[in-house]
Amino acid sequence: MIDYIVPLILLTASLLALKKGEDGYHLLLEGAEDGLKLLLTIVPSLIVLLTAVHMLRASGAFGLLENWAAPVFQFFGIPKETAMLVLIRPISGSAALAVGSEIMSTYGVDSTIGRTAAIMLGSTETTFYTISVYFGAANIRKTRYVVPAALFADFTGFFVASLTARLF
């Protein structure tokens, strides 16, 4: 069943566009062109940040961090190998993508650790960036409880991701 969700979305969207008299094929091409532009903005940061991530892995810094984080992470059942991802996810989206992809390739995309990293990436956001964009635009200076509440949501995401990676 799950195998058909994505192909069916493709078909349904195209058929509905046809029904509405929209030029679906042309829209796909337009979107793909936007995708290329988006990619062009991601690639430079991916190259620079993956360099840092590979340096951290090769130097053994990840190993040190994992050992420090292990007691807390084990208590919550979160794989300690995702420690760096958990730390960087709320701060920088591109760094999280670099760290996450490195974890997936090191431990295997289909391993529990790799799946946990993928689910974490897919179900959390760059919290501090989002807060600064929205509060900056709305001229808010006193943020009250928004940071603890948003970080609690992130933590819930990391915790549940570790569970669902094993269950589904």
Binding site: I9, E30, L50, A95, A138, T143, R144
Partner: protein, 191 residues
């Protein structure tokens, strides 16, 4: 500037750990392999990202955000009571949430900012504004296309098999985040 600090911190940690562990040779080799891995990943992700942003454009044009917002209206009224008196705010808010659901990041942020400006009454964040931020930081996405693209790029045969797990996880983090915001809003009255 933030990224400069992060970058310096990461490189400093790598060099420090290499000195501590005696892994200098591996460290200098990693400088080259890391940059190469960045290009490889980007190229293998390119196809999926372009295709999905095409599908995103299709969904936008056929009015998928409209149907979703009709479905979500009852929930929206509960989380943001002031949408009952302010239809323009309701429009911006549901537009923001639905664009997020469909993974249309470029469309979601401007609508979210309009909603935030409408909600902001002073320079202090009110409860509804905090809930909007929590919903946006919890990232509820129906199709996490970028992550699926990374997985496919790394050789995964079934890149979308994480969908149910991502849905459950997003729902839990958004739901519990909103609960935390609600509970904190009752005790955290000032600043």
């Amino acid at each position: 500037m933030l990224m400069t600090w992060i970058w310096c911190g990461l490189v400093l940690c790598a060099i420090g750990a290499a000195m501590y562990n005696g892994t200098g040779a591996a460290l200098s080799a990693a400088v080259a392999t890391g940059a190469q891995a960045g290009v490889q990943l980007a190229i293998s992700m390119a196809g999926a990202i372009c295709l999905w942003s095409g599908v995103g454009r299709l969904l936008e044009k056929i009015g998928a955000t409209g149907w979703l917002s009709r479905l979500l209206r009852p929930v929206l009224h509960r989380i943001f009571p002031s949408t009952k008196e302010n239809p323009a705010l309701a429009g911006h808010l549901s537009g923001n949430i639905c664009a997020n659901l469909l993974g249309l990041g470029n469309a979601a942020t401007p609508m979210g900012i309009r909603a935030a400006r409408e909600l902001a009454k002073s320079d202090t964040a009110n409860d509804e504004l905090c809930r909007l931020i929590v919903l946006n930081t919890a990232s509820i996405q129906l199709i996490p296309a970028n992550v699926a693209a990374v997985r496919a790029a790394l050789g995964c045969q079934t890149p979308f098999d994480i969908l149910p797990a991502v849905w459950v996880t997003s729902l839990c983090s958004a739901g519990l985040g909103l609960c935390a915001a609600w509970a904190l809003g009752r005790v955290w009255k000032r600043d």
